[in-house]
Every structure is written in structure tokens, then in C-alpha cells.
Amino acid sequence: MASLRVRQLLAPSRRWFSETVSGTPSPPDSPLYPPVVASITAKSKAAKSRRLQRFNQRVHAAATVEEKLRLYGKLQRPKYTVYPQTFALNADRWYRSFTKTVLVPGMPPRAAAAKAPVAAAGATPEAGRAPEPGVEAPGAAEAPGAAETPEPAVGAVPYLDIGELRSLACDALLQESFYQNKKRPFLYRDQDHTPGPFLTQLVSTLAASLSGRNPLLAASSLDLNPEVSYYWHHGEEVVVHGHRKGRVDPVRFQIDDNPHLQIRVPKQLPEVVPLESDLGDVPVIDHKPSKLPLFKKQYENKVFIGSKVADPCCYGHTQFHLLPDKLKRERFIRERLEDQIEVVYRSNGIASLFAWTAAQAMYQGFWSEADVTRPFVSQAVVTDGKYFAFFCYQLNTLALTAETIKNNPRKNICWSTDSKPLYDVVEDGNVKGFNDEVLLQLVRFLLNRPKEL
């Protein structure tokens, strides 16, 4: 009996020590104890990473885009306000480093542009449209008179009448600056007096006349003085003073931009180069952004393309920016800062287009943890009334935060041109020295459309 009990006592212990699976029921599928992970509320790096992961999961799991945007910009902290139109020196280098953008001089070669051949004097614009990387033909300013008569239409496709478009542009210019009686502009309000209305008139008339050729323009939406905003993180810094001193925080940026005009379309523009292309280097600046100078402020983290999420025209086509009086050419020439004139155009183009394309991508549900799967392309024209500079931006990546940028080889690309005058001078009801090239480039921009259309 005692031996029986001993054997009963020994038997389960033998089973307990042995590794072989016997006839006992298998252990339950769910583990007995909860997983051993870091705490959520502790003041440690593991806890911080766990909180970040929970936040990322919350944003990933959000049902609608509005909910995602609300969660993305929920936490307000002091952030750098990036102004696209700034007088800071060498701002375009800094902005390129903030947005991981490569600057490529010259417009990208457009193979699709061969669909709408333009009948201008000679074959120079056609040659310029052929895949010639970069710089437009400099000597294409033919005598305006030669292009008055439209080329005899070859085939059924109606060619573009450059004379008609030039007359539209000259009409708008003369109406605003010569025919209309205007009082003297208020102090420092020169840009609102003449170039502003001229630009609005020019773009609306050109868009209306070209909408027959480009069905995308017919379905587009032209915004007057819209708002474009974007909020993002890039890099890391240590908090200097305050109750959060010593903690490692991401560097936050916000762009709040008001382009003069904006064209939004329901279909996206086609990509210019493949998503993973590498066309240059992004400048790396070791200093803090406050040395630019850039200042911090805390307010609403807004992401906006010009219309709310439910609007069908959710993709961007072209923006038109007007440079303020503070940044006019004469002021830079007077202070002997001639090289900063182009910097102003470039910084405006890069910052505004980055904000617009990134906000468009966020409206489609992408964000820094969920990077874009297709490139977002937009165009911009920056002008001060007389000089026009053209920009084309391709957004390849939104992942600019300190963790997501580590293994991210993609870069955003911005093609830019130097500023060229549209006309030389307006006198006595005549526009002297009209530059057809600039008008052509503008028309090309407006005619840009996806390949299906």
C-alpha cells in the first residue's frame, strides 16, 4: 500500500520531469502569462518606442482619411514655421535639406507632350520638346511676327495658335497696366495693384481657351488665393529648456502657404521619372534650423491642399505664386545680393510644391509610416509680374522622420528653371519684347495631362 502511494507520488513527478509527451491533455493554445513587453508609462526609451508604436497602430487603423489627419496632427508642440517666400540667405539649400529634395536645373523632357504639337515659328519648340535633358533652347525667341499666321494644319488635329494665345496675354497685360485707370498703389502694395490681377486674368483666360484641348482642365477647379498647409517631422533634437528639458524630440515643421492661384484636378498627373530614381544629392546641413533664421511657434498642425478631403478634385495640377514687394529684384540689386534673386524663386517653388504634393499624398491616406506607392507630381509658376520661373515637383517619399529616413533611398525631385521675363516693357499701348518661350512653357504646363486622356 505504501509502495502503491509512493508509486502514485513518484509517477506524476516522473511525468513532470520527463520531456516526452504522454497521454495528458495538450497545453491550452493561448499562453498562460501575458507577453513580457516594456511598460507604457515609464520614463524610458523602450516605453517611448512602445508609445510611438501604439500611436502608429492607431493611425494605421483609422477608418477615414479625416480621422488619420486628426490623429496625425493632434499633439501640438513648438514647431518651425517654414515660409516659402523668405528673404533668408541661401534658403533653398536649407529647404532642400528639410524636405529631402534634389534640385535639377531645367525642365524634364516630356515625351507625352508630343500629343499637342505647337505651331510656332520654325521647328525650335519641337526640337526643344524632344528628349533633350534640361535646358530649353536659349535662342528660341524668334521674331513674333513670323508666328502670327498659324501653320497650315497638317491632318485633322488642330494645331495651337500661338498668335491667339499671345494676343490673349497681351490683352490681359495691357488691360491691367495701360487701359484701366488705377490710382497710385498704396505703399508696398505694388504687387496687388497690377501683377496680381494680370496673373489672375492671364491664367483664367488661358485655361479657358486651352480647356478644349485638355479635358483635364475642363474638369479642373481654379482656386483664388487658396491656403495650402503641411506639417511634418524631420530629424531629431534635444529639448533645450523648459519642463521637457533633456528629452529627444523630432524636429517639427509647418508650411502655411497662400498661392495666388491654384488649379486642382480630379486625375493625377503622370510620373516624370520612376519612383526610385536618383538624380542628384540632397544637401546635408548640420546646424539647427534656427540659424537660417527660422523661428518656432505652437499652433494648429494643419494639412490642407486647398479643399477638404471629400472634394473630387483632390490632385494638384499647377500653382501660381506672386512674389511680394519685400522680395522684388530692385531691392536685391540695391543691396548687392544678385545671387539671392534666384534663391527666392527656388525656395518658393520647392517649399510650396513640397507642401502641396505631400498634403495631396496625405489626403490619399499616405503618411510618413505608410510611404507613397506612386509618385505625386505637381507644377508651379513663380512670378513677380514680369519674370517667370517654372517648377515641376515629384514627391517620391513622405518618410522624413528620424526612424523612417534611415533605410529610405528615395528622394523628392524638383525641376526648376531660372526666371525669365515675359515682356520687356509696356509703353503706349504696346507690349515690347514679348517672350514667346515663357508663354509656350506656360501653355505646356497647362496642357499637361495623364496619358489616358
Binding site: A88, L89, I285, D286, H287, K288, K291, P293, E335, R336, L337, Q340
Partner: protein, 147 residues
């Protein structure tokens, strides 16, 4: 000087009573930025003209701020002692010039005699320290502790 009348030649020379002190920046600044301590009454225009006219330095941009000197220290009579306020100017140079604040106290090359003397002195100090410490086998316990 002859009396000046409008349109006549400007023969007078005005020398400013300002001083500008180039300082080493406390936080790293971009290459084209020079940091100065200037008089409190100077303006950005004054700084620009001072550097351009007197020293022929091309100036692209000037930014200034006033540094408040603290008033917390107390002297032997418990009166507050104020450190003076001063104005700091950050000047960005034009024409692509850069500036790096020089190292004012570079390491001097020592000749063989001073080097050997320094080595000898270090070794001597080490030996003295060793004598002061007790037996390493006792593990830091003082030598008066025992049976």
C-alpha cells in the same frame, strides 16, 4: 574744417565711438556667420556700414539681439550685483565668404628638455601617490584596522 554748405565737398571725418568685438559663438554657427558683441546703441544699419566702410567686409545680412545680464549674484552686503547687458550681432558675410573663429591658444610644441622634465615630474607624482596609498592587497582598508 571750413564751414560746410550744401553741395560743397564733405571734408569732415566722423569717427564712430562704437566698438565691435568678434567673439567665438557659444553654439555652432553656419560658416558665413560671424558673431559680434556690439554697443547697445548700435543698429543693424550701423553695424553694416561700420563693417563695410571701415573694414571693407561685404555684409549680406545682420541680425541683432540684446542679451540681458543677470541680476542674481549678491555681494558681501547682500546687494544684488548686475552683470552688464550687451547686444549680440550675427553678421552673414556676402560674396560667399566664410569665417571660422581662430583658436587663440594653440598647443605649443615642447622641446625635448621640457618634455623629459614633464615625464619625470609625472612619474615622480605617481610614485608619491603610490606611497600614500596603502597595501593594495588590503583592498582599501586602512592600516590601523586590525587585531
Amino acid at each position: 574744417y571750413p564751414l560746410f554748405q550744401r553741395g560743397g565737398p564733405q571734408l569732415r571725418i566722423f569717427r564712430p565711438n562704437f566698438f565691435m568685438l568678434a567673439v567665438r559663438p557659444g553654439v555652432p554657427q553656419p560658416e558665413d556667420t560671424v558673431q559680434f558683441r556690439v554697443s547697445m546703441e548700435m543698429t543693424k544699419l550701423d553695424i553694416r556700414n561700420y563693417l563695410e566702410k571701415i573694414y571693407n567686409v561685404p555684409v549680406a545680412a545682420v541680425r541683432t539681439r540684446i542679451q540681458y545680464g543677470a541680476n542674481n549674484k549678491r555681494n558681501h552686503r547682500n546687494q544684488r550685483v548686475k552683470k552688464p547687458d550687451y547686444k549680440v550681432a550675427y553678421v552673414q558675410l556676402g560674396q560667399g565668404q566664410t569665417f571660422q573663429f581662430p583658436n587663440l591658444f594653440p598647443e605649443k610644441e615642447q622641446d625635448a628638455e621640457t618634455r623629459s622634465f614633464d615625464d619625470f615630474r609625472d612619474k615622480f607624482m605617481e610614485k608619491e601617490k603610490q606611497k600614500q596609498e596603502g597595501d593594495p592587497r588590503r583592498g582599501g582598508v586602512p592600516d590601523w584596522f586590525g587585531l
